[in-house]
C-alpha cells in the first residue's frame, strides 16, 4: 500500500475465523466491492483480527461533497470476536489516511485508522438480525449520509464512548449556570457503594465554595473546568488522546486549550492568601472538563452545553504549574499562590513540553436531570408546567398523582391533607412503614423532593383541611394556585370550594368503591360550569348509562361515592389505584390544556384488562331562587323536559324529579326527570301522574347513587300559550307534596315546562310563618 493508505495489520494468506470467511464471501458477491487483499492484526493481548481490505462505492456518495468522502473508499472490513463486549465485532476502518474527521466514529487507539460507527444498537441486540450483506450495505449508507451531512444532525451530542469507561462523573443539574461562579469550584468524590461494584466507579461532582472545599474529606479529585466561548456546533467530535491532540482540535475553532486551562486553574485559587495544598492536589489523576456552550444557529442563543471530560495523569499542582497559573511557595510547600505574571502584563510561561505529553483518558460525564429535561423526556413540551397547583387530599390516589406529576416535573404543587398515615394505609399508599404516624402531606412532599437533585423540588405541604377557611397556609395556597385537584373523596370539599368565586379551576377525581371505575369532573377554565353543576350531571349519567349499574357497587350507603378506598375494611388492590392514577394523571394533564369542562369515566373490565373511557356530555347550568332555596339544573335536563312535553302534545304530561339537597348551602340540585308512569292520565287541560313502577325506579336510583339522589318533587307540562305559573290545581298539588316532604324536614319542588320556559316552585311546610319571612 502506498503512503496514501494505512498499513493496517499484515498481509495474510487466510482468515482465521469462520465469520471472517463469511464476510469475505459476502464481499466477493457484493456488486460494489473490489477486494484488494486479506490481512490479519495480532494485538499484544493475543487478540487476532481478520481484515479484508476493499474498495467500496456504488456512486451514491455525491460528487464534490463538502465532507471529503470519496465516491469510492478504501476500507478495512474486519472481524474481531473480543470486540463484541464493547460494540459490533465487525469493525470498519477507513484506510485512506486523509479520510475526513467525520462524526459517528468509534474511539480508536492513537495512530490507528478511523473506525466508522455504523450502528446505534448494542451488538447483543444487533446480532439477531445482522447479516454480512446488510453490513456492507450499511457501510454504503453511512458513507452516503455522512457525505450529505445528514447522518450528523445539527443537535447531535458527542459520540458515546464505545468502551467501558472506568469512571463516570455525575455533575449537578445546574452545573452550567454555576460553573462560571468564581467563588465555587468543582470537586469530585466517590460514591462509596460504586467502588464495590465490578463496573465503573461513579464520582459525584459538587460545586463547592473554597471554604466548603477546605472542610472536605480527603481522597477527592481536583478538577480544571475549561470554559469555552459559545460555538455553533459541537467541535469535539472525536476524543483526543493527548492534550496536544485536544489543542489541535480546538485550534480549528480559534481556541487555545493552554489558555483555557490557565484560566481554569487561576479561577480555583483565591486572591492573596493562596490555597492550602490538599491531598487531592497531589492526587496523580486530575479531571479536566471542557464546558462548551452550543449556540442555536438561527437565533444565536445558547441551546445546550456540551461537556467533555478527561482524566489526565498529572497532579493538580503539576498542571497548574505547567499552564503558568500557580506557583508553589519556596518556603512552604503546603501553600500555592496565584501566578500574577499574566495579570500584571507579564508573559505567562506555559510548559508546552509537559502539556503535549500529557495523556487524556475520556471519561463519561453526565448531568443530573433538570426539570426541563424531565418534561422533555416525558413528552411534555407544549404544556405549561411551571404553574402552581394544589392537590387536595394525598391519600392513596392523591399521593399517586403527586408522585407521577413530580416525576414529570409537571406543576409546582402544594399538598394539603390533615390526615396522618395509618397502618392500614400502607396497603395502597405510597408511604412506607416508617412513615406511619406522619402527616400524609409531609411524607408526600419529602418523597417527591427526592426525585431530583437537591434544591430542585418546589413542592409544599400543608397539614390542614383544604376547606378550612381559617388556616392561612391553606388560604394562601388556594389563592396562588391555578389549578386545584380535589382528591379528597369527600362531598364537602368540592361543593364548598366550588361555590367560592375566588377558587381557581378545579378538577375532582375519585375511584369507585369497588375500584372498577374512576371519575374525573373538570371545570371549564372560566368556571361557568363548576363542580356543583358537573356533580348533578355525573349522577344523571350514572342513572341513565349501562356502566352506571355496577359503578358504585360496594358503596356503604354513606352518602359519598368515592370514599371506598378510605375505608379500613374496603377491599381494593394497589394495582387498581395505580391503574386509575396513571389514567387520571395523564388525562388531567392533557385535559387542562383545553378550556372546556369535562366529565369522564373509565371502566375497567377485569377479565380482559380493557379500560373503556366514557365521555359525558356537559351542559351549562341554570339557577332559580325560590324563597330561601336555590334550585339548580342544567340545559340537558331542560331539553329532556321539553322533549317529553313535545312528544305528548296537545296533552299535558309529567312525572317525578330526582335530585339532591344541600342543607348547608340551601340548594336543591336537580339530576333527572322521569317520564310519566304508564298508568298516568294525560289530557290537554290536566295531567294525573300514575304510580306504576315508580318505587322500583326510586330504589334503583338510590342504590346506584349511594343514596345521594332521591325523590325531590314533580314536574308537568303546560300546553302552548299557557303560562308556566302554577295553576290553582298545581298549588294544591304542591301543598300536598310539601306536607308529605315535611315529615323528613325537606321542601318539595314543582317544575312546570311550557312552550318556552321552565319554572320551578318550591313548597315547604313550616310551623310558623315567621320561619320563612325573616
Amino acid at each position: 500500500m502506498s503512503d496514501k493508505y494505512f498499513e493496517y495489520g499484515e498481509v495474510s494468506e487466510q482468515l482465521i475465523y469462520p465469520e471472517g470467511q463469511q464476510l469475505f464471501e459476502a464481499c466477493q458477491e457484493f456488486p460494489w466491492i473490489q477486494i484488494i487483499e486479506c490481512r490479519s492484526l495480532k494485538r499484544n493481548d493475543g487478540d487476532v483480527e481478520d481484515i479484508i481490505i476493499i474498495d467500496l462505492g456504488d456512486g451514491s456518495v455525491p460528487s464534490r461533497n463538502g465532507y471529503g468522502v470519496f465516491a469510492k473508499e478504501r476500507l478495512a472490513v474486519t472481524y474481531r470476536p473480543s470486540f463484541a463486549t464493547y460494540r459490533c465485532p465487525y469493525d470498519v476502518r477507513a484506510i485512506r489516511k486523509a479520510f475526513p474527521p467525520t462524526s459517528h466514529r468509534n474511539y480508536v487507539d492513537q495512530n490507528e485508522p478511523k473506525s466508522l460507527c455504523l450502528y446505534f444498537e448494542p451488538w447483543s441486540a444487533l446480532e439477531r438480525t445482522w447479516t454480512p450483506q446488510q453490513h456492507l450495505k450499511r457501510i454504503l449508507w453511512w458513507l452516503k449520509e455522512t457525505a450529505q451531512g445528514t447522518l450528523h444532525r445539527a443537535d447531535q451530542p458527542l459520540e458515546p464512548l464505545y468502551f467501558t469507561s472506568p469512571w463516570q462523573i455525575i455533575l449537578p443539574h445546574d452545573f452550567h449556570t454555576k460553573v462560571e461562579d468564581r467563588n465555587t469550584s468543582l470537586l469530585l468524590h466517590r460514591v462509596e457503594a460504586s467502588q464495590q461494584s465490578a463496573g465503573s466507579t461513579v464520582l459525584i461532582g459538587e460545586l463547592l465554595s473554597h471554604n466548603q472545599q477546605q472542610g472536605q474529606q480527603p481522597g477527592g479529585f481536583e478538577c480544571l473546568v475549561a470554559i469555552c466561548p459559545p460555538v455553533s456546533t459541537g467541535f469535539i467530535e472525536v476524543y483526543p488522546h493527548t492534550i496536544k491532540e485536544l489543542n489541535e482540535q480546538l485550534l480549528g475553532n480559534g481556541l487555545n486549550i493552554y489558555e483555557l486551562l490557565h484560566q481554569a486553574a487561576i479561577r480555583k485559587i483565591p486572591d492573596g492568601a493562596g490555597l492550602d495544598v490538599k491531598q487531592s492536589m497531589r492526587n496523580p489523576l486530575t479531571f479536566i472538563l471542557l464546558h462548551v456552550p452550543i449556540l442555536r444557529e438561527e437565533t444565536n442563543e445558547i441551546e445546550r452545553f456540551d461537556k467533555v471530560g478527561f482524566f489526565t495523569e498529572s497532579t493538580f499542582i503539576e498542571l497548574g504549574n505547567a499552564v503558568g497559573a500557580l506557583s508553589v511557595c519556596p518556603d512552604n510547600k503546603d501553600k500555592v499562590y496565584k501566578n500574577y505574571a499574566g495579570k500584571l502584563g507579564g508573559l505567562i510561561e506555559i510548559d508546552t513540553d509537559f502539556l503535549q505529553q500529557a495523556s487524556l483518558m475520556p471519561v463519561e460525564t453526565k448531568l443530573r436531570i433538570s426539570h426541563e429535561y424531565a418534561r422533555l423526556a416525558s413528552g411534555i413540551v407544549d404544556d405549561p408546567a411551571e404553574f402552581k397547583g394544589v392537590i387536595a387530599g394525598v391519600g392513596a390516589l392523591g399521593a399517586c398523582l403527586a408522585g407521577i406529576w413530580s416525576k414529570e416535573a409537571w406543576g409546582c404543587w402544594t399538598y394539603i391533607d390533615d390526615d396522618t398515615l395509618q397502618p392500614h394505609n400502607i396497603i395502597r399508599h405510597v408511604g412506607k412503614d416508617f412513615h406511619i404516624g406522619q402527616p400524609k402531606a409531609e411524607l408526600v412532599k419529602s418523597l417527591t423532593s427526592w426525585d431530583f437533585d437537591t434544591g430542585l423540588a418546589k413542592n409544599n405541604a400543608v397539614v390542614a383541611k383544604v376547606n378550612d377557611a381559617n388556616n392561612q397556609d391553606t388560604v394562601s395556597a388556594l389563592k396562588e394556585a391555578e389549578l386545584i385537584v380535589d382528591v379528597t373523596t369527600t362531598l364537602e370539599v368540592p361543593r364548598d370550594l366550588a361555590r367560592r368565586i375566588e377558587t381557581p379551576r378545579m378538577v375532582s377525581v375519585f375511584v369507585s368503591p369497588s375500584g372498577r371505575d374512576s371519575v374525573m369532573l373538570l371545570e371549564d377554565k372560566e368556571r361557568s360550569m363548576n363542580l356543583g353543576i358537573l356533580e348533578a350531571q355525573y349522577y344523571r349519567a350514572v342513572l341513565s348509562s349501562e356502566w352506571g349499574e355496577g359503578h358504585l357497587v360496594g358503596h356503604l350507603g354513606d352518602l359519598w361515592v368515592g370514599a371506598g378506598c378510605r375505608d379500613v375494611s374496603s377491599i381494593m388492590s394497589y394495582e387498581l389505584i395505580q391503574l386509575h392514577s396513571a389514567i387520571l394523571a395523564r388525562q388531567i394533564r392533557q385535559q387542562v390544556r383545553n378550556k372546556v369542562a369535562k366529565i369522564k369515566i373509565w371502566v375497567n373490565d377485569d377479565v380482559s384488562g380493557n379500560v373503556a373511557a366514557v365521555d359525558i356530555a356537559v351542559y351549562p347550568g341554570f339557577t332559580q331562587q325560590c324563597g330561601g332555596w336555590t334550585v339548580c339544573w342544567d340545559q340537558g335536563l331542560q331539553e329532556k323536559l321539553s322533549d317529553m312535553r313535545r312528544q305528548r302534545l296537545p296533552n299535558e304530561t309529567g312525572g317525578i324529579i330526582l335530585g339532591y339537597l344541600d342543607q348547608k348551602t340551601q340548594s336543591i340540585h336537580l339530576v333527572d326527570a322521569l317520564s310519566a308512569p304508564v298508568d298516568s292520565i294525560e289530557s290537554p287541560s290536566e295531567f294525573l301522574r300514575g304510580t306504576n313502577g315508580l318505587q322500583g325506579v326510586l330504589d334503583e336510583c338510590q342504590s346506584r347513587t349511594a343514596n345521594i339522589v332521591r325523590y325531590i318533587g314533580e314536574w308537568h307540562s303546560h300546553p302552548p300559550s299557557i303560562s308556566t305559573n302554577p295553576s290553582c290545581v298545581d298549588i294544591g298539588l304542591l301543598a300536598f307534596l310539601a306536607k308529605q316532604m315535611a315529615t323528613e324536614g325537606l321542601p318539595a319542588v314543582m317544575g312546570i315546562i311550557g312552550e318556552s320556559a321552565l319554572n320551578f316552585t318550591v313548597g315547604q311546610s313550616v310551623e310558623h310563618i315567621s320561619d320563612v319571612l325573616h
Binding site: Q28, E29, P31, G57, D58, G59, S60, V61, P62, S63, R64, N65, G66, F70, A71, K72, E73, L140, W141, K144, Q148
Partner: protein
C-alpha cells in the same frame, strides 16, 4: 462466480396465473411521469448494450426532458425475452402532453449510427404533428413526440461509401430535413414538433442560411425549444472534423458526433449542479483537437459525469489498436487530457456491454482502466450500464443532482423492493 442455492422446502403457495401485459401500466406511467414530489435533476442511463440512451430531466418548472440518442433493440421490446424493457423504462419517465401524448422536449441525436437511433421508427413519431395518428391507442403504444431535435449537420450529407445509413437513421434524417425545410418556409417561427437545432456548421456553406437554428462549435447555448432555459447551458465542443476530412474522404459518422458539455442546474439557486460531458462516438483525433482548443481553458472541459465516448472504446484514447498491440498500445496524452478534467468525486459511465478482460473493443478493458485511473485520482467512480447493478440483470443507472451541487447514484433498492417490483413466475 459460483452460487449454491439451498431450497428449504416446506410448502409452496400456489398463485393464480396473473397475466401481465407490458403496456397495461398506463396509470403508473403517468404517475411516475410526474417524478414524485422531491424533484431533482436526474440523469438516467438505460442498459442498451453497446449503444447510447440517456435521459436528462431538468428541475425547471417544465421538467424539461432531453433524450440523448436511443438504442431500443428488438429483444428489449419482446415480452418473451428477458432483455430489460428499456422502452417501458423510458416511457415510465416521460411526461404526457395535454393531448395525452408522451413526449420529450429534446432529442439529441449525436450521429447517425444505428446504435444511436435504433428503434426510433417504432417508438417515436416522425412527421408533422397535425398528422399524429396514435391518439386512440393505449398510452404504452402511442409513439413518443419529439418537440425539438438537436442534430449533427451530417444530416445534410448524402449517403456514400463512408456514410451508410440504417432504416432508422434514414427515417430520422428525413424528419430532420423536413423540419429544416419547415423552418425555412416559416421563417424559423415554428411550433413543437417542427423544431430543430443544428449542432455545428457544415462545410461549403450548407448551413449558412440556417443561422437562427444553428449552434456553432465552441459556442455556449441556453435555448431549449426557442426559449432560454436558466437550468441549462451547453458548450458545443463538436463535431470538429478536420478541414481536410472531406477532401480526403475521411469523414465518418464518428467524427461527426455532437459533443456537448452541459451545465445542469441542481436547483433554482445553483446553476452549476452538474457538468455532464457527452460525446457520442467521437474518437481520439477529435479529442486531441478538443484539447488543442481548450488546453488553456481546461475548466470548460470539467465534468461531474461523463459518458465514456464510443461505449468505452480504446479508439477514443489511442491511435493504436488494442487487440493488435498485445498490451503495448499507447494512450494519446492529449486525448486523455481532454477526457480527464474530472471534478472531485466524478463518475464516468460506459454505456455498453459488460467489460471483460481480453481483446474485446468496445468496450475495452484498457479504456476502462484509463477511466478508472482518471476518476480514481478524484475519488470518483467508473460505472458500466451492462453491469449495473448486476451483469445478469441490468437496470437503469440513475443519477440525481444534489440541490447544493454534485451527483450521486440513486441508491439501489432493498431486496424486498426489487422482488416486489419484479414479475415472479411460479409453476
Amino acid at each position: 462466480m459460483r452460487m449454491l442455492l439451498i431450497v428449504y422446502q416446506r410448502c409452496l403457495h400456489s398463485y393464480n396465473n396473473y397475466t401481465y401485459n407490458k403496456y397495461t401500466h398506463s396509470y403508473y406511467s403517468y404517475k411516475i411521469g410526474n417524478w414524485g414530489s422531491t424533484v431533482k435533476t436526474k440523469i438516467t442511463f438505460f442498459p442498451v448494450d453497446n449503444g447510447d440512451m440517456t435521459l436528462i430531466r431538468l428541475v425547471d418548472s417544465d421538467k424539461t426532458c432531453i433524450l440523448v440518442d436511443i438504442n431500443i433493440r428488438e429483444a428489449a421490446d419482446n415480452t418473451n425475452d428477458t432483455t430489460y424493457d428499456v422502452a417501458k423504462a423510458l416511457r415510465d419517465r416521460l411526461k404526457i402532453d395535454s393531448k395525452g401524448r408522451p413526449y420529450v422536449d429534446v432529442f439529441l441525436w449525436s450521429h447517425p449510427d444505428q446504435d444511436h437511433c435504433r428503434g426510433i421508427r417504432k417508438h417515436f413519431y416522425l412527421g408533422p404533428l397535425e398528422d399524429y395518428p396514435d391518439d386512440n391507442k393505449k398510452l404504452g403504444e402511442k409513439r413518443i413526440v419529439i418537440r425539438e431535435i438537436w442534430s449533427s449537420p451530417i444530416v445534410f450529407r448524402r449517403a456514400s461509401k463512408n456514410l451508410t445509413l440504417s432504416e432508422d437513421a434514414k427515417a430520422l434524417n428525413k424528419e430532420a430535413k423536413r423540419r429544416v425545410e419547415e423552418n425555412k418556409n416559416r421563417k424559423f417561427v415554428v411550433c413543437d414538433g417542427d423544431r430543430i437545432v443544428i449542432m455545428g456548421e457544415d462545410q461549403n456553406g450548407k448551413t449558412d442560411d440556417l443561422q437562427q437554428i444553428l449552434v456553432k462549435v465552441d459556442q455556449k447555448f441556453k435555448k431549449i425549444r426557442g426559449k432560454s432555459n436558466s437550468h441549462f447551458e451547453g458548450l458545443l465542443l463538436g463535431p470538429r472534423p478536420a478541414d481536410d476530412d472531406e477532401t480526403e474522404g475521411l469523414l465518418t459518422k464518428n467524427h461527426s458526433s455532437v459533443i456537448v458539455n452541459m451545465k445542469l442546474a441542481g436547483s433554482v439557486l445553483n446553476a452549476d449542479g452538474c457538468k455532464f460531458l457527452t460525446g457520442g462516438d467521437a474518437e481520439v483525433e477529435i479529442w486531441e483537437r478538443v484539447w488543442a482548443e481548450y488546453k488553456s481553458t481546461s475548466d470548460e472541459l470539467e465534468y461531474d459525469l461523463m459518458q465514456a465516448p464510443h461505449h468505452c472504446s480504446w479508439h477514443t484514447l489511442s491511435h493504436d489498436s488494442w487487440s493488435d498491440s498485445g498490451g503495448e498500445a499507447k494512450v494519446s496524452p492529449n486525448a486523455r487530457s481532454a477526457l480527464s478534467q474530472a471534478r472531485s468525486g466524478a463518475s464516468i459511465v460506459s454505456s455498453s456491454k459488460p467489460i471483460k478482460e481480453g481483446d474485446q473493443d468496445p468496450p475495452c478493458i484498457g479504456a476502462k482502466q484509463e477511466y478508472e485511473d482518471i476518476v480514481g485520482d478524484v475519488g470518483g467512480i467508473f460505472h458500466c450500464t451492462g453491469e449495473y447493478p448486476t451483469e445478469s440483470s441490468p437496470k437503469p443507472l440513475e443519477f440525481e443532482i444534489k440541490a447544493s451541487g454534485g451527483i450521486a447514484v440513486i441508491s439501489s433498492a432493498s431486496a424486498a423492493a426489487i422482488i416486489t417490483s419484479t414479475k415472479a413466475r411460479a409453476g
